[in-house]
Amino acid sequence: MMTLELILQGLVMGVFYAMMGIGLTLIFGILKVVYFAHGESFMVGAYTYALIAALLGLPLPIALASAVVVGALLAVIVERLLIRPLYEKFGDWQQMRDEYAIIVTFGLSLFLINAANQFLGPYPYHGPALTDIARFQFGDIIIGGHRLVAGLLGLLILGGALWFIQRSFWGKQIRAVAQNRFGASIAGIDTRRVSALVFMLSGGLAALSGALLVPLFHAQPDVGMVPALKSFVIVVLGGMGSPIGAIIGGLILGVLESFGAFYVSYAYRDTFAFVILIAVLLLRPQGLFGERAREV
Protein backbone atom coordinates (compact mmCIF):
# COMPACT_ATOMS: atom_id res chain seq x y z
CA MET A 1 0.00 0.00 0.00
CA MET A 2 2.83 2.33 0.86
CA THR A 3 4.31 1.59 -2.54
CA LEU A 4 1.14 2.71 -4.28
CA GLU A 5 1.00 5.84 -2.21
CA LEU A 6 4.63 6.68 -2.93
CA ILE A 7 3.95 6.25 -6.61
CA LEU A 8 0.89 8.48 -6.44
CA GLN A 9 2.65 11.22 -4.48
CA GLY A 10 5.60 10.99 -6.85
CA LEU A 11 3.39 11.26 -9.91
CA VAL A 12 1.71 14.38 -8.55
CA MET A 13 5.06 16.06 -7.95
CA GLY A 14 6.07 14.83 -11.37
CA VAL A 15 3.22 16.75 -12.97
CA PHE A 16 4.58 20.00 -11.57
CA TYR A 17 8.12 19.13 -12.60
CA ALA A 18 6.84 18.38 -16.07
CA MET A 19 5.14 21.76 -16.32
CA MET A 20 8.50 23.35 -15.59
CA GLY A 21 10.40 21.03 -17.85
CA ILE A 22 8.22 21.32 -20.93
CA GLY A 23 8.98 25.04 -21.23
CA LEU A 24 12.68 24.55 -20.69
CA THR A 25 12.82 21.81 -23.26
CA LEU A 26 11.03 24.00 -25.83
CA ILE A 27 13.50 26.81 -25.23
CA PHE A 28 16.34 24.39 -25.60
CA GLY A 29 14.71 23.03 -28.72
CA ILE A 30 14.62 26.32 -30.58
CA LEU A 31 17.77 27.96 -29.21
CA LYS A 32 19.98 25.06 -28.12
CA VAL A 33 20.95 26.90 -24.96
CA VAL A 34 20.29 26.45 -21.26
CA TYR A 35 17.91 29.03 -19.81
CA PHE A 36 18.77 29.67 -16.18
CA ALA A 37 16.03 32.08 -15.16
CA HIS A 38 13.26 29.52 -15.57
CA GLY A 39 12.90 29.16 -11.81
CA GLU A 40 12.06 32.83 -11.56
CA SER A 41 9.02 32.39 -13.78
CA PHE A 42 7.95 29.80 -11.22
CA MET A 43 8.65 32.31 -8.43
CA VAL A 44 6.71 35.07 -10.16
CA GLY A 45 3.75 32.75 -10.67
CA ALA A 46 3.81 31.71 -7.04
CA TYR A 47 3.85 35.33 -5.84
CA THR A 48 1.18 36.47 -8.25
CA TYR A 49 -1.21 33.74 -7.18
CA ALA A 50 -0.55 34.22 -3.49
CA LEU A 51 -0.82 38.01 -3.61
CA ILE A 52 -3.92 38.18 -5.76
CA ALA A 53 -5.77 35.40 -4.01
CA ALA A 54 -4.72 35.96 -0.43
CA LEU A 55 -4.23 39.71 -0.24
CA LEU A 56 -6.72 41.03 -2.79
CA GLY A 57 -9.14 38.19 -2.12
CA LEU A 58 -10.01 37.74 -5.78
CA PRO A 59 -11.47 34.40 -6.93
CA LEU A 60 -8.93 31.62 -7.37
CA PRO A 61 -9.41 31.11 -11.13
CA ILE A 62 -8.60 34.77 -11.68
CA ALA A 63 -5.54 34.43 -9.49
CA LEU A 64 -4.38 31.40 -11.46
CA ALA A 65 -4.96 33.15 -14.76
CA SER A 66 -3.11 36.26 -13.60
CA ALA A 67 -0.17 34.11 -12.57
CA VAL A 68 -0.02 32.64 -16.05
CA VAL A 69 -0.28 36.05 -17.68
CA VAL A 70 2.40 37.64 -15.51
CA GLY A 71 4.74 34.69 -15.98
CA ALA A 72 4.23 34.72 -19.74
CA LEU A 73 4.69 38.46 -19.93
CA LEU A 74 7.92 38.37 -17.98
CA ALA A 75 9.30 35.65 -20.22
CA VAL A 76 8.37 37.54 -23.38
CA ILE A 77 10.05 40.70 -22.13
CA VAL A 78 13.17 38.73 -21.28
CA GLU A 79 13.10 37.14 -24.71
CA ARG A 80 12.88 40.52 -26.40
CA LEU A 81 15.58 42.21 -24.35
CA LEU A 82 18.12 39.53 -23.65
CA ILE A 83 17.53 36.43 -25.74
CA ARG A 84 16.91 37.84 -29.19
CA PRO A 85 20.58 38.66 -29.91
CA LEU A 86 21.22 34.93 -29.69
CA TYR A 87 19.50 34.34 -33.00
CA GLU A 88 19.43 37.77 -34.59
CA LYS A 89 23.16 38.29 -34.60
CA PHE A 90 25.54 35.80 -36.00
CA GLY A 91 29.30 35.80 -36.33
CA ASP A 92 30.77 36.86 -33.04
CA TRP A 93 27.69 35.96 -31.09
CA GLN A 94 27.64 32.42 -32.38
CA GLN A 95 31.00 31.71 -30.85
CA MET A 96 30.00 32.25 -27.28
CA ARG A 97 26.27 31.69 -27.28
CA ASP A 98 26.47 29.13 -24.51
CA GLU A 99 28.45 31.49 -22.36
CA TYR A 100 26.23 34.43 -23.13
CA ALA A 101 23.02 32.50 -22.56
CA ILE A 102 24.14 31.05 -19.28
CA ILE A 103 25.63 34.22 -17.87
CA VAL A 104 22.84 36.54 -18.93
CA THR A 105 20.09 34.25 -17.67
CA PHE A 106 22.11 33.53 -14.56
CA GLY A 107 22.43 37.28 -13.90
CA LEU A 108 18.74 37.67 -14.61
CA SER A 109 17.91 34.98 -12.08
CA LEU A 110 20.04 36.74 -9.47
CA PHE A 111 18.40 40.03 -10.36
CA LEU A 112 14.85 38.75 -10.09
CA ILE A 113 15.46 36.94 -6.81
CA ASN A 114 16.86 40.09 -5.27
CA ALA A 115 14.17 42.25 -6.80
CA ALA A 116 11.53 40.04 -5.20
CA ASN A 117 13.36 40.27 -1.92
CA GLN A 118 13.57 44.03 -2.23
CA PHE A 119 10.04 44.81 -3.29
CA LEU A 120 7.97 41.98 -1.88
CA GLY A 121 9.97 41.41 1.27
CA PRO A 122 11.48 38.29 2.68
CA TYR A 123 8.33 36.92 4.28
CA PRO A 124 6.96 33.77 2.68
CA TYR A 125 3.48 34.11 1.25
CA HIS A 126 1.00 31.32 1.49
CA GLY A 127 -1.55 30.79 -1.25
CA PRO A 128 -5.04 29.52 -0.52
CA ALA A 129 -5.77 25.92 -1.47
CA LEU A 130 -7.98 25.23 -4.48
CA THR A 131 -10.28 23.06 -2.42
CA ASP A 132 -11.57 23.07 1.14
CA ILE A 133 -11.26 19.32 1.36
CA ALA A 134 -8.22 18.75 3.54
CA ARG A 135 -7.36 15.33 2.16
CA PHE A 136 -8.66 12.48 0.08
CA GLN A 137 -8.47 8.98 1.42
CA PHE A 138 -8.62 5.89 -0.78
CA GLY A 139 -8.24 2.93 1.51
CA ASP A 140 -4.90 3.45 3.20
CA ILE A 141 -3.76 5.99 0.67
CA ILE A 142 -3.97 9.59 1.78
CA ILE A 143 -3.32 12.52 -0.45
CA GLY A 144 -3.78 16.19 0.32
CA GLY A 145 -6.88 17.80 -1.14
CA HIS A 146 -5.13 20.66 -2.85
CA ARG A 147 -2.32 18.40 -3.99
CA LEU A 148 -4.68 16.10 -5.82
CA VAL A 149 -6.82 18.84 -7.33
CA ALA A 150 -3.79 20.85 -8.44
CA GLY A 151 -2.16 17.73 -9.79
CA LEU A 152 -5.20 16.84 -11.87
CA LEU A 153 -5.51 20.40 -13.11
CA GLY A 154 -1.83 20.35 -13.99
CA LEU A 155 -2.25 17.08 -15.84
CA LEU A 156 -5.09 18.57 -17.85
CA ILE A 157 -3.00 21.58 -18.77
CA LEU A 158 -0.04 19.42 -19.66
CA GLY A 159 -2.31 17.52 -22.01
CA GLY A 160 -3.46 20.78 -23.56
CA ALA A 161 0.10 22.03 -23.94
CA LEU A 162 1.14 18.79 -25.54
CA TRP A 163 -1.74 18.98 -27.98
CA PHE A 164 -0.80 22.55 -28.78
CA ILE A 165 2.80 21.64 -29.49
CA GLN A 166 2.14 18.46 -31.43
CA ARG A 167 -1.02 19.28 -33.32
CA SER A 168 -1.72 22.98 -33.62
CA PHE A 169 -0.53 25.25 -36.38
CA TRP A 170 1.70 27.19 -34.03
CA GLY A 171 3.06 24.03 -32.50
CA LYS A 172 4.13 22.83 -35.92
CA GLN A 173 5.94 26.10 -36.48
CA ILE A 174 7.73 25.69 -33.16
CA ARG A 175 8.87 22.25 -34.14
CA ALA A 176 9.97 23.47 -37.53
CA VAL A 177 12.14 26.15 -35.95
CA ALA A 178 13.50 23.62 -33.47
CA GLN A 179 14.55 21.32 -36.30
CA ASN A 180 16.06 23.97 -38.49
CA ARG A 181 15.78 27.66 -37.73
CA PHE A 182 17.27 28.72 -41.03
CA GLY A 183 15.14 26.36 -43.07
CA ALA A 184 12.03 27.42 -41.20
CA SER A 185 12.73 31.07 -41.89
CA ILE A 186 13.17 30.34 -45.58
CA ALA A 187 9.85 28.50 -45.53
CA GLY A 188 8.24 31.73 -44.42
CA ILE A 189 7.96 31.11 -40.70
CA ASP A 190 8.44 34.22 -38.57
CA THR A 191 11.08 32.83 -36.24
CA ARG A 192 10.90 35.87 -33.97
CA ARG A 193 7.28 35.29 -33.28
CA VAL A 194 7.90 31.62 -32.72
CA SER A 195 10.61 32.41 -30.20
CA ALA A 196 8.36 34.86 -28.41
CA LEU A 197 5.62 32.27 -28.39
CA VAL A 198 7.89 29.63 -26.92
CA PHE A 199 8.97 31.94 -24.13
CA MET A 200 5.39 32.94 -23.48
CA LEU A 201 4.35 29.33 -23.30
CA SER A 202 7.19 28.24 -21.07
CA GLY A 203 6.95 31.28 -18.82
CA GLY A 204 3.22 30.76 -18.46
CA LEU A 205 3.53 27.07 -17.67
CA ALA A 206 6.30 27.61 -15.14
CA ALA A 207 4.29 30.37 -13.50
CA LEU A 208 1.26 28.13 -13.36
CA SER A 209 3.35 25.42 -11.80
CA GLY A 210 4.44 27.93 -9.17
CA ALA A 211 0.89 29.10 -8.60
CA LEU A 212 -0.39 25.57 -8.14
CA LEU A 213 2.40 24.74 -5.72
CA VAL A 214 2.31 27.90 -3.62
CA PRO A 215 -0.27 26.49 -1.20
CA LEU A 216 2.21 23.67 -0.55
CA PHE A 217 5.56 25.41 -0.91
CA HIS A 218 4.99 29.12 0.00
CA ALA A 219 6.23 31.97 -2.17
CA GLN A 220 9.59 33.45 -1.26
CA PRO A 221 12.33 35.02 -3.38
CA ASP A 222 14.39 31.91 -4.04
CA VAL A 223 11.51 29.43 -4.19
CA GLY A 224 12.20 28.76 -7.88
CA MET A 225 15.76 27.55 -7.54
CA VAL A 226 15.09 23.96 -6.61
CA PRO A 227 12.32 23.47 -9.21
CA ALA A 228 14.54 25.06 -11.86
CA LEU A 229 17.40 22.72 -11.14
CA LYS A 230 14.99 19.79 -11.17
CA SER A 231 13.63 20.85 -14.52
CA PHE A 232 17.13 20.72 -16.00
CA VAL A 233 17.30 17.15 -14.83
CA ILE A 234 14.03 16.10 -16.36
CA VAL A 235 14.80 17.86 -19.61
CA VAL A 236 17.98 15.85 -19.91
CA LEU A 237 16.22 12.71 -18.72
CA GLY A 238 13.51 13.07 -21.31
CA GLY A 239 15.83 14.13 -24.08
CA MET A 240 16.56 17.79 -24.68
CA GLY A 241 13.99 19.33 -26.96
CA SER A 242 11.39 16.61 -26.53
CA PRO A 243 8.12 17.78 -24.91
CA ILE A 244 6.80 14.26 -24.38
CA GLY A 245 10.16 13.33 -22.95
CA ALA A 246 9.91 16.22 -20.49
CA ILE A 247 6.53 15.03 -19.28
CA ILE A 248 7.58 11.43 -18.86
CA GLY A 249 10.92 12.53 -17.39
CA GLY A 250 9.08 14.68 -14.86
CA LEU A 251 6.86 11.82 -13.79
CA ILE A 252 9.79 9.43 -13.54
CA LEU A 253 11.80 11.87 -11.45
CA GLY A 254 8.83 12.51 -9.15
CA VAL A 255 8.41 8.81 -8.46
CA LEU A 256 12.14 8.14 -8.09
CA GLU A 257 12.46 10.96 -5.57
CA SER A 258 9.47 9.74 -3.66
CA PHE A 259 11.02 6.29 -3.26
CA GLY A 260 14.54 7.56 -2.74
CA ALA A 261 13.53 9.88 0.04
CA PHE A 262 11.38 7.25 1.73
CA TYR A 263 13.76 4.31 1.54
CA VAL A 264 17.22 5.87 1.24
CA SER A 265 17.50 9.28 2.87
CA TYR A 266 15.30 12.29 3.55
CA ALA A 267 18.19 14.71 3.71
CA TYR A 268 19.52 13.72 0.29
CA ARG A 269 16.10 13.95 -1.34
CA ASP A 270 17.17 16.73 -3.68
CA THR A 271 20.50 15.10 -4.47
CA PHE A 272 19.07 12.08 -6.29
CA ALA A 273 18.02 14.21 -9.22
CA PHE A 274 21.58 15.28 -9.91
CA VAL A 275 22.94 11.78 -9.67
CA ILE A 276 20.29 10.73 -12.18
CA LEU A 277 21.25 13.64 -14.41
CA ILE A 278 24.91 12.67 -14.54
CA ALA A 279 24.09 9.02 -15.03
CA VAL A 280 21.80 9.81 -17.94
CA LEU A 281 24.23 12.18 -19.59
CA LEU A 282 27.00 9.65 -19.43
CA LEU A 283 25.07 6.54 -20.33
CA ARG A 284 22.49 7.89 -22.72
CA PRO A 285 23.23 11.52 -23.54
CA GLN A 286 20.30 11.80 -25.91
CA GLY A 287 17.97 11.09 -22.98
CA LEU A 288 15.21 8.54 -22.93
CA PHE A 289 13.34 9.98 -25.88
CA GLY A 290 15.74 12.26 -27.68
CA GLU A 291 17.43 11.44 -30.93
CA ARG A 292 21.14 11.12 -31.04
CA ALA A 293 22.58 14.10 -32.78
CA ARG A 294 24.80 13.21 -35.69
CA GLU A 295 28.09 14.97 -35.52
CA VAL A 296 30.76 15.81 -38.11
Binding site: I103, L110, M225, L229, T271, I278, P285
Partner: protein, 326 residues
Amino acid sequence: MNASHLRTRREFLVSLVFLAAVAAVPLFVTSGYLLGIVIVAMYYALLAIAWNLLAGYTGQFSLAPTAFAMIGAYGTGMASYHFGLPPAVGVPIAILVSAVIGMGLGRIVVPLRGPYLALTTIAFAEIVRHVARNAHEYTRGDFGMSVPLISSDRVMAFYLMLALLVAVQVGLYFLLRSHAGLYLQAIRDDETAAAGRGINVIFWKTVAFTVSGAICGFAGAMYVHFSGLASPDIGHIFETGLVLASVVIGGIGTMIGPLVGGFIVQFAAEGFREFGLRHMLVFAAMVILFVRFFRQGLWGLVKNAWDRLFGQGAARPARQVKEAGE
Protein backbone atom coordinates in the same frame (compact mmCIF):
# COMPACT_ATOMS: atom_id res chain seq x y z
CA MET B 1 56.81 35.38 -33.12
CA ASN B 2 53.31 34.12 -33.77
CA ALA B 3 50.11 35.95 -32.91
CA SER B 4 48.92 33.78 -30.05
CA HIS B 5 52.25 34.10 -28.27
CA LEU B 6 52.39 37.82 -28.85
CA ARG B 7 48.91 38.27 -27.50
CA THR B 8 49.60 36.03 -24.52
CA ARG B 9 52.83 37.85 -23.75
CA ARG B 10 51.23 41.26 -24.00
CA GLU B 11 48.41 40.26 -21.68
CA PHE B 12 50.84 38.59 -19.32
CA LEU B 13 52.99 41.71 -19.10
CA VAL B 14 49.98 43.89 -18.39
CA SER B 15 48.87 41.44 -15.72
CA LEU B 16 52.32 41.59 -14.14
CA VAL B 17 52.03 45.36 -13.93
CA PHE B 18 48.65 44.94 -12.32
CA LEU B 19 49.99 42.39 -9.84
CA ALA B 20 52.89 44.68 -9.00
CA ALA B 21 50.39 47.41 -8.20
CA VAL B 22 48.49 44.98 -6.00
CA ALA B 23 51.71 43.99 -4.26
CA ALA B 24 52.25 47.61 -3.33
CA VAL B 25 48.86 47.95 -1.65
CA PRO B 26 49.99 46.99 1.89
CA LEU B 27 52.66 49.68 1.72
CA PHE B 28 49.95 52.29 1.64
CA VAL B 29 46.91 50.60 3.12
CA THR B 30 47.06 49.40 6.70
CA SER B 31 43.35 48.81 7.15
CA GLY B 32 42.72 45.13 7.78
CA TYR B 33 39.30 45.59 6.25
CA LEU B 34 40.67 46.84 2.96
CA LEU B 35 43.39 44.19 2.90
CA GLY B 36 40.69 41.63 3.59
CA ILE B 37 38.73 42.83 0.58
CA VAL B 38 41.80 42.55 -1.60
CA ILE B 39 42.52 39.03 -0.29
CA VAL B 40 39.00 37.93 -1.17
CA ALA B 41 39.36 39.66 -4.53
CA MET B 42 42.48 37.58 -5.15
CA TYR B 43 40.49 34.47 -4.29
CA TYR B 44 37.85 35.33 -6.87
CA ALA B 45 40.57 36.22 -9.37
CA LEU B 46 42.12 32.78 -8.88
CA LEU B 47 38.81 31.04 -9.48
CA ALA B 48 38.21 33.27 -12.48
CA ILE B 49 41.63 32.46 -13.93
CA ALA B 50 41.09 28.75 -13.39
CA TRP B 51 37.66 28.87 -14.95
CA ASN B 52 38.94 30.94 -17.84
CA LEU B 53 41.53 28.26 -18.57
CA LEU B 54 38.63 25.85 -19.05
CA ALA B 55 36.01 28.08 -20.65
CA GLY B 56 38.06 30.80 -22.29
CA TYR B 57 40.99 28.79 -23.57
CA THR B 58 39.65 25.24 -23.88
CA GLY B 59 36.00 26.00 -24.58
CA GLN B 60 34.78 23.72 -21.78
CA PHE B 61 31.90 25.58 -20.19
CA SER B 62 32.02 24.03 -16.75
CA LEU B 63 29.78 25.34 -14.00
CA ALA B 64 31.74 23.75 -11.20
CA PRO B 65 34.60 26.15 -10.35
CA THR B 66 33.31 26.85 -6.86
CA ALA B 67 32.65 23.15 -6.33
CA PHE B 68 36.38 22.61 -6.70
CA ALA B 69 37.07 25.53 -4.38
CA MET B 70 34.81 23.75 -1.93
CA ILE B 71 36.61 20.46 -2.40
CA GLY B 72 39.86 22.23 -1.63
CA ALA B 73 38.31 24.04 1.31
CA TYR B 74 36.94 20.84 2.80
CA GLY B 75 40.11 18.94 1.96
CA THR B 76 42.20 21.09 4.22
CA GLY B 77 39.27 21.78 6.52
CA MET B 78 38.65 18.11 7.30
CA ALA B 79 42.37 17.41 7.57
CA SER B 80 42.59 20.12 10.17
CA TYR B 81 39.28 19.51 11.94
CA HIS B 82 39.43 15.75 12.21
CA PHE B 83 43.16 15.05 12.26
CA GLY B 84 44.60 18.33 13.50
CA LEU B 85 46.88 18.63 10.50
CA PRO B 86 48.43 22.08 9.90
CA PRO B 87 47.81 24.04 6.70
CA ALA B 88 51.25 23.06 5.45
CA VAL B 89 49.94 19.50 5.17
CA GLY B 90 46.27 20.27 4.63
CA VAL B 91 46.71 22.57 1.65
CA PRO B 92 48.78 20.10 -0.41
CA ILE B 93 46.19 17.44 0.40
CA ALA B 94 43.50 19.82 -0.80
CA ILE B 95 45.33 20.47 -4.06
CA LEU B 96 45.88 16.79 -4.65
CA VAL B 97 42.26 15.87 -3.94
CA SER B 98 40.83 18.59 -6.14
CA ALA B 99 43.26 17.78 -8.94
CA VAL B 100 42.35 14.08 -8.83
CA ILE B 101 38.62 14.81 -8.76
CA GLY B 102 39.12 17.37 -11.53
CA MET B 103 40.88 14.73 -13.58
CA GLY B 104 38.08 12.24 -12.96
CA LEU B 105 35.36 14.72 -13.88
CA GLY B 106 37.30 15.89 -16.92
CA ARG B 107 37.76 12.36 -18.18
CA ILE B 108 34.09 11.57 -17.67
CA VAL B 109 32.72 14.65 -19.45
CA VAL B 110 35.02 14.40 -22.48
CA PRO B 111 32.22 13.47 -24.89
CA LEU B 112 29.85 16.19 -23.68
CA ARG B 113 29.58 19.61 -25.27
CA GLY B 114 27.86 22.95 -24.70
CA PRO B 115 24.66 22.74 -22.68
CA TYR B 116 25.21 19.08 -21.81
CA LEU B 117 28.54 19.90 -20.23
CA ALA B 118 27.05 22.86 -18.38
CA LEU B 119 24.30 20.72 -16.90
CA THR B 120 26.60 17.84 -15.93
CA THR B 121 28.98 20.15 -14.16
CA ILE B 122 26.23 22.04 -12.35
CA ALA B 123 24.82 18.70 -11.22
CA PHE B 124 28.28 17.72 -10.02
CA ALA B 125 28.59 21.02 -8.16
CA GLU B 126 25.21 20.59 -6.53
CA ILE B 127 26.03 17.04 -5.45
CA VAL B 128 29.26 18.23 -3.83
CA ARG B 129 27.38 20.99 -2.03
CA HIS B 130 24.56 18.70 -0.91
CA VAL B 131 27.04 16.18 0.45
CA ALA B 132 28.90 18.92 2.31
CA ARG B 133 25.64 20.18 3.76
CA ASN B 134 24.21 16.84 4.73
CA ALA B 135 27.15 14.59 5.62
CA HIS B 136 27.16 16.17 9.03
CA GLU B 137 29.40 13.62 10.76
CA TYR B 138 32.25 14.49 8.42
CA THR B 139 31.60 18.03 7.33
CA ARG B 140 29.61 19.54 10.22
CA GLY B 141 26.78 20.30 7.85
CA ASP B 142 25.44 23.69 6.89
CA PHE B 143 27.43 25.65 9.44
CA GLY B 144 30.76 24.40 8.22
CA MET B 145 33.96 23.75 10.07
CA SER B 146 36.21 26.17 11.89
CA VAL B 147 39.67 26.11 10.36
CA PRO B 148 42.83 27.65 11.85
CA LEU B 149 44.00 30.88 10.27
CA ILE B 150 47.07 30.59 8.10
CA SER B 151 48.35 33.75 9.68
CA SER B 152 46.78 36.09 12.16
CA ASP B 153 48.71 38.84 10.43
CA ARG B 154 46.68 40.26 7.55
CA VAL B 155 49.70 41.47 5.65
CA MET B 156 51.22 38.00 5.83
CA ALA B 157 47.98 36.43 4.60
CA PHE B 158 47.86 39.05 1.87
CA TYR B 159 51.29 38.20 0.54
CA LEU B 160 50.69 34.46 0.76
CA MET B 161 47.58 34.81 -1.36
CA LEU B 162 49.41 37.14 -3.73
CA ALA B 163 52.26 34.65 -4.06
CA LEU B 164 49.74 32.01 -5.07
CA LEU B 165 48.14 34.36 -7.56
CA VAL B 166 51.48 35.27 -9.12
CA ALA B 167 52.57 31.65 -9.24
CA VAL B 168 49.35 30.64 -10.98
CA GLN B 169 49.60 33.48 -13.46
CA VAL B 170 53.23 32.70 -14.31
CA GLY B 171 52.53 28.98 -14.53
CA LEU B 172 49.61 29.65 -16.80
CA TYR B 173 51.76 31.86 -18.99
CA PHE B 174 54.27 29.09 -19.54
CA LEU B 175 51.48 26.60 -20.17
CA LEU B 176 49.88 28.86 -22.76
CA ARG B 177 53.22 29.68 -24.36
CA SER B 178 54.02 26.03 -24.87
CA HIS B 179 52.34 24.03 -27.60
CA ALA B 180 49.73 23.10 -24.95
CA GLY B 181 48.31 26.60 -25.16
CA LEU B 182 47.78 26.22 -28.88
CA TYR B 183 46.25 22.78 -28.45
CA LEU B 184 43.76 23.99 -25.86
CA GLN B 185 42.66 26.88 -28.05
CA ALA B 186 42.42 24.55 -31.02
CA ILE B 187 40.12 22.27 -29.03
CA ARG B 188 38.06 25.29 -28.06
CA ASP B 189 37.63 26.39 -31.65
CA ASP B 190 36.92 23.01 -33.20
CA GLU B 191 37.28 19.71 -31.45
CA THR B 192 36.85 17.62 -34.57
CA ALA B 193 39.42 19.61 -36.50
CA ALA B 194 41.80 19.39 -33.55
CA ALA B 195 41.53 15.63 -33.50
CA GLY B 196 41.94 15.57 -37.27
CA ARG B 197 45.24 17.44 -36.90
CA GLY B 198 46.53 14.85 -34.48
CA ILE B 199 45.76 16.61 -31.19
CA ASN B 200 44.82 14.15 -28.46
CA VAL B 201 41.59 15.82 -27.44
CA ILE B 202 40.79 13.51 -24.54
CA PHE B 203 44.19 14.01 -22.99
CA TRP B 204 44.26 17.78 -23.28
CA LYS B 205 40.71 18.28 -22.09
CA THR B 206 41.48 16.17 -19.07
CA VAL B 207 44.64 18.19 -18.46
CA ALA B 208 42.62 21.42 -18.56
CA PHE B 209 40.09 20.08 -16.06
CA THR B 210 42.83 18.79 -13.79
CA VAL B 211 44.82 22.02 -13.77
CA SER B 212 41.71 24.14 -13.38
CA GLY B 213 40.43 21.94 -10.56
CA ALA B 214 43.77 22.07 -8.79
CA ILE B 215 43.94 25.87 -8.99
CA CYS B 216 40.39 26.19 -7.68
CA GLY B 217 41.11 23.72 -4.89
CA PHE B 218 44.30 25.55 -3.97
CA ALA B 219 42.45 28.86 -3.91
CA GLY B 220 39.63 27.41 -1.82
CA ALA B 221 42.07 25.92 0.66
CA MET B 222 43.95 29.20 1.06
CA TYR B 223 40.69 31.06 1.34
CA VAL B 224 39.38 29.03 4.28
CA HIS B 225 42.67 29.42 6.07
CA PHE B 226 42.16 33.12 5.66
CA SER B 227 38.46 33.28 6.56
CA GLY B 228 38.64 30.60 9.23
CA LEU B 229 35.57 28.70 8.11
CA ALA B 230 34.97 26.00 5.52
CA SER B 231 31.26 26.18 4.73
CA PRO B 232 28.97 24.98 1.94
CA ASP B 233 28.31 28.59 1.01
CA ILE B 234 31.66 28.55 -0.78
CA GLY B 235 30.01 26.38 -3.40
CA HIS B 236 26.69 28.20 -3.59
CA ILE B 237 25.38 28.69 -7.10
CA PHE B 238 25.54 32.47 -6.63
CA GLU B 239 29.28 32.19 -6.08
CA THR B 240 29.62 30.42 -9.41
CA GLY B 241 27.74 33.35 -10.87
CA LEU B 242 30.32 35.73 -9.44
CA VAL B 243 33.17 33.74 -10.98
CA LEU B 244 31.58 33.71 -14.42
CA ALA B 245 30.81 37.39 -14.09
CA SER B 246 34.44 38.14 -13.22
CA VAL B 247 35.64 36.46 -16.38
CA VAL B 248 33.02 38.02 -18.60
CA ILE B 249 33.46 41.52 -17.24
CA GLY B 250 37.24 41.30 -17.43
CA GLY B 251 37.38 39.66 -20.84
CA ILE B 252 37.06 35.95 -21.56
CA GLY B 253 39.91 34.07 -23.19
CA THR B 254 42.56 36.54 -22.11
CA MET B 255 45.24 36.34 -19.44
CA ILE B 256 44.48 39.69 -17.90
CA GLY B 257 40.66 39.76 -18.04
CA PRO B 258 39.78 37.28 -15.30
CA LEU B 259 42.45 38.68 -12.99
CA VAL B 260 41.10 42.20 -13.19
CA GLY B 261 37.52 40.93 -13.36
CA GLY B 262 37.88 39.11 -10.05
CA PHE B 263 38.99 42.34 -8.40
CA ILE B 264 36.22 44.35 -10.01
CA VAL B 265 33.49 41.96 -8.95
CA GLN B 266 34.67 41.79 -5.36
CA PHE B 267 35.15 45.56 -5.10
CA ALA B 268 31.77 46.17 -6.69
CA ALA B 269 30.08 43.76 -4.29
CA GLU B 270 31.68 45.60 -1.36
CA GLY B 271 31.17 49.04 -2.88
CA PHE B 272 27.50 48.43 -3.51
CA ARG B 273 27.01 47.89 0.20
CA GLU B 274 26.66 51.65 0.15
CA PHE B 275 23.38 51.11 -1.62
CA GLY B 276 22.23 49.25 1.45
CA LEU B 277 19.67 46.66 0.62
CA ARG B 278 20.02 46.99 -3.09
CA HIS B 279 23.61 45.93 -3.54
CA MET B 280 22.87 42.48 -4.91
CA LEU B 281 20.22 43.97 -7.15
CA VAL B 282 22.59 46.54 -8.60
CA PHE B 283 25.26 43.94 -9.02
CA ALA B 284 23.03 41.53 -10.91
CA ALA B 285 21.91 44.34 -13.19
CA MET B 286 25.54 45.19 -13.88
CA VAL B 287 26.29 41.62 -14.86
CA ILE B 288 23.39 41.59 -17.31
CA LEU B 289 24.33 44.92 -18.86
CA PHE B 290 27.95 43.98 -19.24
CA VAL B 291 27.33 40.66 -20.88
CA ARG B 292 24.64 42.16 -23.08
CA PHE B 293 26.49 45.21 -24.34
CA PHE B 294 30.21 44.86 -23.59
CA ARG B 295 30.79 41.28 -24.42
CA GLN B 296 34.50 41.54 -25.08
CA GLY B 297 34.86 42.64 -21.51
CA LEU B 298 36.90 45.49 -20.20
CA TRP B 299 40.12 44.21 -21.75
CA GLY B 300 38.44 44.24 -25.15
CA LEU B 301 37.27 47.81 -24.60
CA VAL B 302 40.73 48.90 -23.49
CA LYS B 303 42.35 47.17 -26.45
CA ASN B 304 39.96 48.73 -28.93
CA ALA B 305 40.45 52.17 -27.46
CA TRP B 306 44.22 51.65 -27.61
CA ASP B 307 44.10 50.52 -31.23
CA ARG B 308 41.94 53.45 -32.17
CA LEU B 309 44.19 55.95 -30.43
CA PHE B 310 47.51 54.57 -31.54
CA GLY B 311 46.47 53.25 -34.86
CA GLN B 312 48.25 49.92 -35.02
CA GLY B 313 45.02 48.07 -35.67
CA ALA B 314 43.38 50.80 -37.71
CA ALA B 315 45.06 49.61 -40.88
CA ARG B 316 43.30 46.29 -40.82
CA PRO B 317 39.96 46.37 -39.08
CA ALA B 318 39.06 42.73 -38.55
CA ARG B 319 35.40 43.31 -39.32
CA GLN B 320 36.08 44.43 -42.88
CA VAL B 321 38.22 41.48 -43.71
CA LYS B 322 35.47 39.25 -42.49
CA GLU B 323 32.74 40.98 -44.42
CA ALA B 324 34.80 40.91 -47.56
CA GLY B 325 35.22 37.21 -47.11
CA GLU B 326 31.59 36.34 -46.79
